[in-house]
């Protein structure tokens, strides 16, 4: 089944690529805003996977449930990112830096 002439693997590999980029950002970057961007990319990789698999049904049937999950998950993701940004703003106001490695008051 090749919907609209593009093979399924293309989308799946893109999803893995998005997830890998997000993971790379979260593993290496020091800026907290970039962390949040990485988190958003991780979510997008998973969403793309769901959308792709939702179309992979025999007879061009598209599963509405996976699409509902993605829409709900985008909304939830917005909420999660908002909470994360609130944390970043508070941390910036309190410590005057966006560098995650300077937040080391907790290391006893």
């Amino acid at each position: 089944m090749i919907p609209y002439g593009v093979p399924l693997e293309f989308f799946l590999i893109t999803a893995v690529f998005l997830y890998a980029v997000g993971f790379y950002i979260m593993a290496t970057k020091r800026n907290m805003i970039k962390f949040i961007i990485g988190l958003e990319l991780l979510l997008d990789g998973a969403h793309l996977n769901f959308i792709t698999f939702a179309t992979a049904w025999p007879g061009f049937v598209i599963d509405p449930l996976a699409q509902s999950l993605v829409i709900i998950s985008i909304c939830i993701g917005g909420g999660v990112i908002a909470v994360g940004l609130a944390f970043v703003i508070r941390a910036y106001n309190l410590r005057g830096t966006l560098d995650i490695r300077k937040l080391n008051e907790l290391r006893h």
């Binding site: 997830y19 979260m26 979510l43 449930l65 999950l69 944390f87 309190l94």
Partner: protein, 525 residues
Amino acid sequence: MSVGLTEWFYLLPLVLTLGGALIVGLLGKVLKGRRGDVALGVVTAVFMFLALVSIVNLYYILMYANWSPLLIWYWPPGPVFDPTTGATCINIDILAVYMSVVFVFLGLFVAIYSIKYMEHDDGMGLFYPLLLTLVGSMVGVVYAGDFLTLFIFWESMSVSSYALVAFRKEETEPIEAGLKYFLLSAFGSTLILFSMSYLYGLTGTLNLAQIGANLALLPAGGAWMNVATITIMGLIIGFGIKAAIAPLCTWLPDAHPAAPSGISAMLSGVVIMTGSYAILRLFGYFFSPTVYPVYGYILSWFALFTMIYGNLMALTQKDIKRLLAYSTITNVGYIIFGFAVGMMPLTHIDPNAAELARYLSVTGGLFHITAHMLSKGMLFLCAGVFLHEIGTRDLDKLKGIGRKMTVTMVCFDIGALSLAGVPPLIGFFSKFFIIWGSIVAGWYLAAAILVLSSAFSVVYYLRMIQILVFAEPSPEALKAQRASPVMLFSIVVLTLFIVGIGLFPEFFLRVAELAAKAALGLPFS
């Protein structure tokens, strides 16, 4: 069945907690000042109590239904549905009831405790709705019968716990701890979502039971097994971050001490248990030990490592809440170990013995969730009383405080001894069952490590008691007053349950045993 009046009755625990959050949130706009805060706390406690009653009611409904789960299909609507295209449902079985009683029970006492403990804080109109949302979402997580429902409640639980950890947003420590918790935990959530998308691709459904059934239909040994392996790893890591399995638990010793003490008790006692629950439930549904033999062993080695790590780190701590947080990691090790034995194929022993070993250790793990909820929740509440009275968590400054606060200290001692595994208390029985299970499974080395780890943990529990009671009182400790009766009420009731269930464990063990059978798919006899 679609959602009719009877189904709303089954959903009462969810409706009362989440609807209660809405009502308390609206009331918080009207009721201001100290009196308003007290009123909000009382309303919250009433909602928690009603939810607790409705869950106990569900227990009896299930008992008359012969323990067959109550399924509520809510989307697509109507009585006609096709599970293979992914119907969403609420699945209330005895395991869900068991877990939700644990959640709401601690929520009730934390709500009562917070009325006094949070007296100097602003924004209580947000605190109580968040607490109710946290408890309600956890109930939703255990009631979920499909991945859509699970994910919605999982994220709502996570978001409310981030906000509650950083509730005192003017201080640096809660913000840093909250940020650390947020980053790791949100990463874990995306990993769960990503892994689940592969499971969805393999099976074409989001319904948890249906995913398991469709996976069993796939040919054994095909290329899809590799995808399934990645999926299992992703799920274990994703839920393991929330459950605080050892290499993934770095957020826990920061987040638990930084939160307000009531929330520390919630996080440590119940929120991290949703991770353990999810691992148990998903393996029970999806990955039968005969097809995936190694994951039980991998998970159990991680559990043993978790125990040892928590014990070693707890030894050197100077901060009382940080010490308790590390001992939480140790206890997560026991619980995950109990569940891991339930996932092992155990082909080298007699099949009947293997079944016995599986459900004994899962029973022990589930019972240890209750034991840990009561004991560790109570210990965090006691630590909160000390913090409230003299404003420090430093063990050196808390020296001898037990002489000024007798009742709190007696309760603290009972909780610490219960977690150390002293016989007439609840913690003894749960550990005993986990160890018994591993002995029946023929894994004597693990049983020895469990016993040694338990004995090792006595060292720091006794050190804590020694510092708090027998050391010469420090100048700060001498200033301590008696704890207020509101806070003492929660602590004393939890202590009574520790002693009471320890003396009469039969009923609770029976329910834990039924829950273990539901998790493993064994017939109820």
